[in-house]
């Protein structure tokens, strides 16, 4: 209710992360970049949200991680979508789209609706 313009919609971060990993594995920083890229900066990921979210996803078995070295020669933690993660993403995305559609229908309803 008190969202500011940079903020994400609640409950979408995990889903976006899973989606970012659907095609390729990425490290945390790369996930943030990916999301900002595909949305042309209209969604921004704060690191203080990202890393705790990744931990939650790993706890639930939706992603797994391991240490590696990046192209830029840094030590990075690389995340991979698990089989369950993929299944979950499919379900959650479908359900989210349905709910979002329901809401946007309400919002677009004529004010004169009775």
């Amino acid at each position: 209710m008190a969202r500011d313009k940079g903020d994400l919609l609640q409950g979408t971060l995990g889903m976006l992360i899973l989606k970012s990993l659907a095609a390729q594995e990425l490290h945390g920083y790369g996930i943030a970049r990916w999301i900002e890229d595909v949305t042309k900066k209209s969604l921004t990921i704060e690191e203080g949200s990202l890393y705790p979210a990744l931990r939650r996803l790993e706890d639930r078995g939706w992603v797994s991680s391991s240490w590696a070295v990046s192209e830029t020669n840094r030590r990075v933690r690389v995340y991979t979508l698990t089989r369950q993660g993929r299944a979950h993403l499919r379900k959650e995305a479908t359900s989210w789209m349905e709910h979002a559609r329901a809401i946007s229908i309400v919002l677009r309803a004529e004010p004169s609706y009775v």
Copy 2:
């Protein structure tokens, strides 16, 4: 992340309530009925969410309330959208739609996106 199917998308309840009051004043129970009606039950409002939400909206000056007697002859608290509430609804709805659109674009992105 752990939403069940009946759940609302976080952050939308206040907005839906404001929208329900855009055309007519309603009492709490009536708001819940209205939302379920226009979404054909695909969104359900729990009373434990509704009343605290109404209080928040009133605290912020977006709705005002008064006691009345319903058609069914019961004591009811009737809510009205204030001028500021109407302005806020317009802004919040616009912003929500934009964010939701950004997210749905990401979700629909080809998994082969790189």
